[in-house]
């Protein structure tokens, strides 16, 4: 099963097995990583699942939709490698993916 690493702002590192087909957001929610809030349950409506994708992985993830890009521009402190984790589907090819979590989703 692919492993996704979530690094919180306080330095906490969680290496989580996430089922292929599930989302990076769901992996965090399932494991009660509180840096991801996910208010809308993954429907790209709330931007509270914001994460920063590690440089090594940015190009390996399918690009964001227009809707996601619009939402991302408005999160707290958006960066080039910002993504909404509910829109990142985990696959076997993404085994080893590393994401950093923002200090706050609000």
């Amino acid at each position: 099963m692919p492993v996704v690493t979530y690094i919180s702002q306080d330095g906490a590192i969680n290496e989580i097995e996430v089922t292929s087909g599930s989302s990076v957001m769901q992996g965090a929610v399932d494991n009660m990583i509180d840096g991801i809030v996910a208010e809308c349950g993954g429907s790209c409506s709330c931007a509270t699942c914001h994460c920063f994708v590690d440089e090594a992985w940015v190009e390996k993830i399918p690009p964001a939709s227009e809707m996601e890009k619009d939402m991302l521009e408005c999160v707290l402190e958006p960066q080039e490698n910002s993504r909404l984790s509910c829109q990142i589907k985990v696959t076997d090819e993404l085994d080893g993916l590393v994401v950093r979590l923002p200090e706050s989703q609000f």
């Binding site: 399932d30 009660m32 208010e39 349950g41 429907s43 931007a47 619009d70 939402m71 408005c74």
Partner: protein
């Protein structure tokens, strides 16, 4: 013998979040969540969308899988009704007369559908939509060419209409008021949604008061007084919900359009908290008490309630927001528009499928309805929560990027 145990009555969005938040806040004693449905906490919004269509299944809806609750020792008692709460003895009494002791109690009992007590309402095919079991009862009626009549032009009604239309049914929406979404939006929004639904082939009938249902064994027609009846193979009624406050009321807690709670989600008994659709609470933005029916409120209140049970004092003062997905329309709503005195439109609701409506009261933005306009929604939230002043001319001008209204405020 009383063990330290937090009992949470209600296992949906608020109950599930409250249990998890308790662990995150450091509660290290027993947690028991009691729910009357046979499912672990699941996402309700997909019920009128991808679950109805069969795209998603029950396991896809669960907010968290069972194994995750086991990892953090959160116990569930599912398919279990609670009869009453004995506050004197700190007991929750189940409908099989078993007693459960609690040291802390949380009520996350949610709401149930308002039912229409009309002739023929018990015919087969006259259904509601609130939970998985409701959606599963609807599914066998879904087939291209079948006639569906939706009673109620609110969000549930319109979302269901959109999904059934996508699945090839002939769909009619009957709304008693003179426009759909009349309780929650401006006329421009109602007109927009009516146009889109009609473009998609849904028939919207307003001023339609349903008086009964006709059929032999199963429904065949929806009756509207002296008007022509509407043929129907399937009827879905979505006319609002009623908060489940009976347990609280019978236990002597204050109830008034929901279980009354303070800013820390405490009920009138300081050892009992409540969260979600079932609560009546004070909203600092709108300076009034209200009851909200939304996922955001359920989850945010649940977090505050859990913190309160752990001896912390967070206040609940989140800005309400909602979303609704119909066809290719993403509607995101920030704030509550009741009492608005002016609407400024950004974009044209008469053409295309992208625009937003900013609701003003005394020249302050109090709410935003954003259709396929996520930036207007996100910026709108900032404007409302920070009470920022907004230039209405710039707002109306779609060549001005919405984000620049934040820097100019």
């Amino acid at each position: 013998m009383t063990k330290s145990c937090c009992v949470i009555i209600g296992a949906s969005h608020a109950g599930g979040q409250l249990a998890v938040s308790l662990r995150q806040e450091g509660w290290d004693q027993k947690i028991l969540v009691i729910g009357d449905e046979p499912y672990l906490p699941y996402n309700r919004p997909p019920l009128s969308k991808t679950f109805l269509s069969g795209e998603k299944h029950v396991e896809d809806l669960l907010i968290r899988p069972e194994a995750q609750y086991e990892k953090v020792d959160i116990d569930f008692m599912l398919g279990q009704e609670v009869s009453r709460i004995d506050r004197t003895n700190n007991l929750v009494i189940l409908d099989n007369d078993t007693d459960i002791s609690y040291s802390s109690l949380a009520l996350t009992t949610g709401a149930r559908v308002r039912k229409l007590d009309l002739p023929g309402a018990d015919l087969k095919g006259v259904l509601y939509l609130r939970d998985i079991s409701d959606a599963e009862q609807i599914q066998p009626y879904i087939a291209p060419g079948k006639k569906a009549v939706i009673v109620g032009g609110g969000y549930i009604g319109l979302e269901t209409a959109a999904m059934l239309r996508k699945l090839g049914l002939e769909v009619t929406v009957l709304e008693t008021a003179d426009r759909v979404l009349n309780r929650v939006t401006a006329p421009e929004m109602s007109a927009f949604y009516t146009r889109i639904h009609e473009e998609e082939g849904v028939r919207i009938v307003t001023g339609a008061g349903v008086t009964g249902f006709a059929g032999y064994n199963r429904v065949r027609e929806v009756l509207c007084g002296d008007s022509d009846p509407f043929p129907a193979d399937l009827v879905i009624i979505g006319v609002g919900v009623i908060p489940n406050t009976e347990l609280a009321e019978e236990a002597g807690l204050d109830v008034d359009n929901g279980i009354c709670v303070d800013g820390q989600c405490r009920t009138s008994d300081p050892d009992i908290v409540a969260a979600g659709d079932c609560t009546n609470h004070y909203n600092a933005f709108y300076q009034c008490r209200l009851r909200l029916e939304s996922v955001q409120n359920a989850m945010d209140q649940a977090r505050v309630a859990a913190a309160t049970l752990c001896g912390k004092s967070n206040a609940y003062n989140a800005l309400p927001w909602f979303w609704s997905d119909q066809y290719d329309l993403k509607l995101q709503i920030a704030g509550l528009s009741n009492g608005y005195d002016e609407v400024v439109l950004r974009g044209d609701p008469g053409a295309g499928r992208k625009f937003s409506a900013f609701y003003f009261k005394n020249d302050q933005v109090i709410a935003v309805d954003a259709v396929n306009s996520p930036q207007e929604f996100m910026v709108g939230k900032q404007i409302i929560s920070k009470s920022l002043a907004v230039d209405k001319v710039m707002l109306e001008d779609t060549s001005v990027p919405i984000k620049s209204l934040l820097t100019n405020a």
